[in-house]
Amino acid sequence: MRERRVLVVDDEADIRATVSAILEIEGYAVAEATNGAEALAVVEADPPDVILLDMRMPILDGWGFATELRRRGYPIPIVVMTAAQDAARWAADIAATAFLAKPFGYDDLVTVLDRTGSAA
């Protein structure tokens, strides 16, 4: 069975590194992007199975990225990661599959991805 590939999109380097390290231990293949524009380029090059998406980012934010992704016809499930209080609403805004409210821990991350995988 092919490794599940996850794209981690966040402008905070430490968040990307932490999430990637956990996912790698859990057996995922991880790609990283620091904003929506970079993330689109990664998707175009090699579409992932799941996208972990921060919402507030420079250059192209989460909303812009999600809109463009759908416009280009990629049905990839998105999991919103945000520190904002209205995480659930933002996830609904962009028709995300799930959301992770910061601060989340190791198990939160793994559980969400497992569920997203079985749903996808």
């Binding site: 402008d11 932490t18 980012m57 420079p58 821990g105």
Partner: protein, 647 residues
């Protein structure tokens, strides 16, 4: 025919004089009836003297009318009686002057003596020395009546509003009445003039009685018209008071509007505190004083909930005589300020002499008290709602603060939590595995970031709640800036510092000012682009001026005024990093302002930002290092809140 013709020529002339004469007699008797009825209801001295005035005139008129009916009008006794009654009129006017504004005792005495002499002369000698009596009577009318008329005129000029109009009418009436009487006597002295003078006298008397009616018993519609300007003036001055934020200023303005509507020496408003049963009054100095709610004339009007007129406050309430004297409050009228639901307080107007036309003053006072009730009631509603708005605003700010705090703490917390759980599992799976230096580094970095965010939040919170207590001590600001510069130059970059040679000593809370400079230098490094920032310290106009200059991205034009606001982050900064709270410059501003200084931003020529801080320095600029420690206690804090720390 001739006789008939003569009569037919003479009759209209005679009947015109006769008609006016009869009208005058009817009007004077009518006026007497009106003022007498008022004196029965309110037997004040002024009302009694007014009754005396018109009683005398009506009496003289009545006696001569009855005399002519009985065919004894030529009888010396009848003539003497009507003369005595007529002479009582100027004497009553003199008494009225005394009631309205006071006259010297000798004037009263002289007036009474003259009245007695002239009357005695009329009784004793009119029958055989009529000319002498007539000349003396003319003199008496001109002197005593003239004095009274001039006094009425002076009083009319001193007063205002409806009182002034009524006093003016009284003055005109008195002048015309004296003219009429003098004309009658001149007609008697010079029979050749008799016909023309008689007509003039009757016309003057008619005008006099009409003027007296206006003055002493104005009809309701004239009263309304005369009161209107006072009322309008009060309303114009007080209508905006619902919006005046400061209670004291609103009440002081209301008091002054009321005093000015009356032309009184002053007015005072007591505001009731129902729970404590006191009335609060504003002193001239702007402080509140409290008195039990039954004390003073005003307090009695409040506790009885009815209007009061006190002509001699010192006599009526001797306990507070000194206070009344000090306020120039000889006469006081007071009315409760109440709405249907609520007793708000009391309005009193005071003057150094009794009100002339009490019923008008009471009417106006009651109206002003009602108006004040509406205003104060509306004000308390406005104030309640603005207090409510302020509470809501405070709650909203707190909410905003908490949510910003929560948001900014979550990101580093995610790293600390996720990363340490990861390390924990690694160790559990393989205790011999090498330590993950990168992971530990991330934890340490983010934990430090958490620490900084927490202290930033606490700083802002503390400043928000009324400022920090500054521990002021003399500090060389050049040296302080140098310390901060050295800390930042350690990380490979070099920050240029230009400073004057002598120390610039200011009384500051050192850690706080270090925090400000630290923050500015950190910003300059973070947003300063490739070239290093510079710091310039100068002594400009007795202030230490610290400029932190960078050549970076600068601040967008429209945002320069807002960068010192809480939670404000420049739009070009947000795209660089999402980590700041937008509190740094806000905290800087608050700290600098607490020190009595200023902080502002200027664009750096050629691009970038220059942040400037100006702090007061001591005039002597002595370096604290060379001073004895004891000298430090003599340094004064630049702002009231500061405390001088022991050196």
């Amino acid at each position: 025919m001739l006789e008939h013709g003569h009569r037919s020529r003479a009759c209209p002339e005679l009947s015109a004089i006769e008609l006016i004469s009869v009208s005058n007699q009817v009007l004077f008797i009518g006026l007497f009836a009106v003022v007498a009825w008022r004196a029965v209801r309110q037997p004040t001295r002024a009302n009694l003297d007014t009754t005396l005035l018109f009683g005398a005139i009506a009496g003289a008129v009545g006696v001569s009318r009855v005399g002519s009916w009985l065919g004894i009008s030529e009888d010396p006794a009848i003539t003497a009686l009507s003369l005595v009654l007529l002479n009582a009129a100027p004497f009553a006017m003199l008494r009225l002057v005394d009631d309205f504004r006071g006259t010297p005792r000798w004037v009263q005495f002289a007036g009474a003596a003259a009245f007695a002499i002239v009357s005695a002369l009329a009784v004793a000698s009119f029958s055989f020395w009529a000319e002498l009596v007539e000349v003396v009577t003319i003199g008496f009318f001109v002197a005593v009546g003239g004095y009274a008329a001039v006094a009425f005129a002076t009083e009319a000029r001193r007063t205002r509003g409806i009182t002034r109009r009524r006093m003016t009418a009284v003055t005109v009436g008195a002048g015309l009445f004296i003219t009429a009487i003098v004309a009658l006597f001149i007609g008697a002295l010079f029979p050749a003039l008799a016909d023309s003078v008689r007509l003039a006298a009757q016309v003057a008397a008619l005008a006099a009685v009409l003027a007296f009616f206006l003055g002493f018993a104005p009809p309701a519609w004239i009263r309304r018209a005369w009161r209107e300007p006072d009322l309008r003036g009060f309303l114009e001055r007080s209508v905006h008071l619902t919006g005046v934020a400061d209670d004291r200023s609103a009440i002081a303005q209301l008091e002054s509007a009321a005093a000015s509507a009356f032309g009184a020496s002053g007015a005072s408003i007591g505001i009731a505190d129902a729970d404590r049963r006191v009335l609060r009054y504003l002193t001239d100095g702007g402080a509140w004083v409290e008195h039990p709610d039954g004390a003073f004339v005003a307090g009695q009007a409040f506790s009885r909930q009815r209007r009061m007129v006190v002509i001699d406050a010192e006599a009526m309430d001797p306990e507070h005589a000194d206070a009344y004297r000090a306020a120039g409050a000889h006469a006081i009228i007071a009315a409760p300020i109440s709405t249907e639901e609520r007793r708000i307080g009391v309005l009193s107007v005071y003057a150094d002499r009794a009100p002339i036309f009490v019923e008008d003053d009471l009417w106006l006072l009651e109206l002003l008290a009602n108006q004040a009730a509406v205003l104060l009631d509306a004000r308390s509603l406005t104030l309640t709602s603005s207090a409510l708005r302020a509470r809501e605003e405070a709650a909203r700010l707190k909410e905003e603060f908490l949510s910003a705090a929560a948001h900014d703490l979550r990101t580093p917390l995610t790293v600390v939590l996720g990363q340490s759980e990861l390390l924990e599992r690694r160790v559990a799976r393989d205790p011999a595995a090498p330590a993950d230096a990168a992971g530990i580094g991330r934890i340490v970095r983010e934990a430090r970031r958490l620490r900084d965010l927490v202290s930033e939040l606490l700083d802002a919170q503390r400043l928000e709640q009324g400022g920090a207590i500054l521990e002021l001590a003399p500090v060389d600001l050049c040296q302080l800036v140098e310390t901060v510069r050295d800390r930042h130059s350690g990380h490979g970059s070099r920050i240029e510092l230009s400073r004057p040679d002598p120390a610039l000593v200011g009384s500051v809370d050192r850690p706080r000012i270090e925090q400000v400079i630290e923050n500015l230098v950190e910003n300059a490094t973070k947003y300063g682009g490739a070239s290093s920032p510079e710091i310039v310290v100068e002594n400009i106009d007795g202030e230490a001026r610290i400029a932190v200059v960078d050549h970076g991205i600068g601040i967008p034009n429209g945002e320069r005024d807002r960068i010192f606001e809480r939670f404000f982050r420049a739009s070009n900064v947000q795209s660089i990093t999402d980590t700041g709270l937008g509190l740094g410059l806000y905290i800087c501003r608050r700290i600098v302002e607490e020190h009595g200084g200023r902080i502002w931003h200027e664009p750096t020529p050629g691009g970038g930002s220059t942040f400037l801080v100006a702090l007061p320095i001591d005039a002597t600029g002595v370096d604290p290092a060379t001073e004895e420690p004891a000298a430090a206690t003599s340094w004064s804090a630049p702002v009231g809140k500061g405390v001088v720390a022991d050196a």
